[in-house]
Symmetry: C2
Subunit: 336 residues, 2 copies
């Protein structure tokens, strides 16, 4: 199985290492023999139709902050040329999410689908802005489209709701889908000011380069769009979500909640309306998790309410979700 | 799909009603047209090869405390005769769990498998005492064996670990698998004595007829056996578990835990050893849930620790898990 990898940051590198370390096991258990034939980052690319050497790739990236110097050639070809010209079965999109035009991820995904490649995306941008259209393009081109890592990182939230609850009708759900704001709110509940809590989160590397994605609820909203489409069969995009971030929360709000044995959490919910907003949650509610944890509660018609909790991010965790998607694609595409 | 139902208590009746209410939807979505052709309880049986009338069955059970009077015939045939003589594709075993000899459930399950019927069990007894053998008998007779409802009631714990975490290696897990003892311990943490908390749980109908199953950790241990076999591929039975119940927990232990921001919970864990015992759990650990809730945390090699929380019992919730198993059997058995 030949793979083109878009982006070679923390997630991309973790995934490449994971493939390397699990290669024997993947072949034995799933008949899966993946090789990365092309990879590119902001500054350049590396290709080898017979499979790139992963250790060398990581070394080169570390030294030169790009995979460009993998080969001795002077000019590396562009990402979009790789997608359009290189033979591969699967494209993995790991570039940064943006919610203005979702580029360059959007172009990567659509170009790959049109060429008949299956696509795995951990980039939320394209899904947040155009989920219904992307599903149509995938169906039209008869390719599989997977995105487990977009919600919950390594925690299989989408899969749980779609598969483990099969035969059930999910009526509503709500969750803490952004670990960064949860970390900030947890620190505020422990007495820190908003600014100190934000600084602490920044120091720990939890905050996106564009802090607005976390603080103004955009990241949580993007995940809500994906859940609403995939789990509830809605056809919605980012602009359908009513979003309020956490910038206006102060210590008075936090104290008032604590007096009621509650805590303020940034809750994304789907219950008639789609909203992202700070809400008071009882501390005995399983949803009320601390630190950078994510949590989501699904309420079904017959089997009650179930909550799933885990870390929502992390390179190796997200890489493990890409691998799950790859195994899925292998199983699905060899069915016929 | 013809079904024989063993036992017609809360779960059996909830399942029958669920089939009735979902019949159109089940046919439209899964091509599933289930009919119950035989049902029996402690006092008698009812059969109709063309499908029993579910409303009538429930009325008769309510009036006479048995399904025996469904037909006008004087003598109803025995459960084991039904299993051995009546034509059906699936047997659903819902009689009471016991951990001495697991009868009559064990005989029901084995007889059905030998006749080539697929089996769904929510009775934990046979699995706790003979999981490895039952899997072999199922394989030998080429039938499917499902038991989602034995762990977590309607919360798809087994499915989550087996399917949503596919491609991952689960290294260890631990959980609160018995809602009754969790309810008692929660009340004790709120100041009640053990005896008062037990009385309260009894009044609410949470305690098994044989209270030892809850208090001495047998119910939790049975679920641990099922998890260890199914998720970890171990070949173990009840006697392989080191079990300590909650009878010796007193208010001093509870207070000591609270001083450390912890709570005492009856924890079933699989981590080198298999044990069920009271342990102190930090109140910020997602596992530390209150009331009758169940919770389980799985730790995988790459995707971190994930916790799933839900009600572990309830007629309609457990019935919904039987339905999931039935859909599964339908999908699996029509694959070839």
């Amino acid at each position: 199985m030949r793979i083109i990898l878009c982006g070679f940051g923390v997630v991309g590198q973790s995934f490449a290492k994971l493939l390397e370390s699990r290669s024997e096991d993947l072949y034995a258990r799933y008949g899966l023999k993946p090789r990365i034939v092309g990879v590119f980052d902001r500054n350049g690319s590396a290709i080898d139709p017979s499979g790139l050497d992963i250790n060398r790739l990581i070394d080169v990236k570390k030294k030169h902050n790009s995979v460009k110097k993998y080969a001795d050639t002077k000019n590396s070809i562009s990402g979009i040329e790789i997608i359009n010209d290189l033979e591969a079965e699967v494209l993995i999109e790991t570039t940064e999410s943006n919610y203005k035009d979702a580029e360059p991820g959007m172009t990567h995904i659509i170009s790959a689908m049109k060429r008949g490649m299956h696509v795995i995306s951990v980039n939320k941008g394209p899904l947040a802005l155009a989920f219904p259209s992307l599903m149509e393009i995938a169906a039209y081109n008869q390719v599989l489209f997977r995105f487990s890592g977009t919600v919950g990182g390594g925690t299989p939230i989408l899969d749980f709701a779609k598969n483990s609850l099969r035969g059930e009708r999910i009526i509503s759900f709500s969750g803490i889908l952004n670990g960064t704001t949860n970390y900030i709110l947890t620190n505020m509940a422990n007495g820190m000011s908003f600014n100190d809590a934000l600084d602490d989160a920044k120091q720990k590397g939890y905050v996106e380069a564009d802090e607005s994605l976390d603080l103004d609820g955009l990241d949580a909203a993007a995940k809500l769009v994906i859940l609403a489409n995939w789990i509830m069969g809605m056809k919605v995009v980012m602009s359908d979500i009513k979003i309020t971030g956490i910038r206006k929360i102060d210590s008075v709000d936090i104290k008032r909640a604590a007096e009621k044995n509650s805590a303020i959490k940034l809750i994304a919910s789907c219950n008639k309306e789609l909203t992202v907003a700070p809400k008071e949650i009882s501390t005995v509610d399983p949803l009320c998790v601390s630190g950078t944890l994510n949590a989501i509660s699904f309420t079904s018609e017959h089997s009650g309410t179930q909550t799933i909790i885990g870390r929502g991010a992390g390179g190796i965790e997200t890489a493990s979700s890409i691998l799950r998607d790859l195994i899925d694609i292998r199983n699905e595409s060899t069915k016929t």
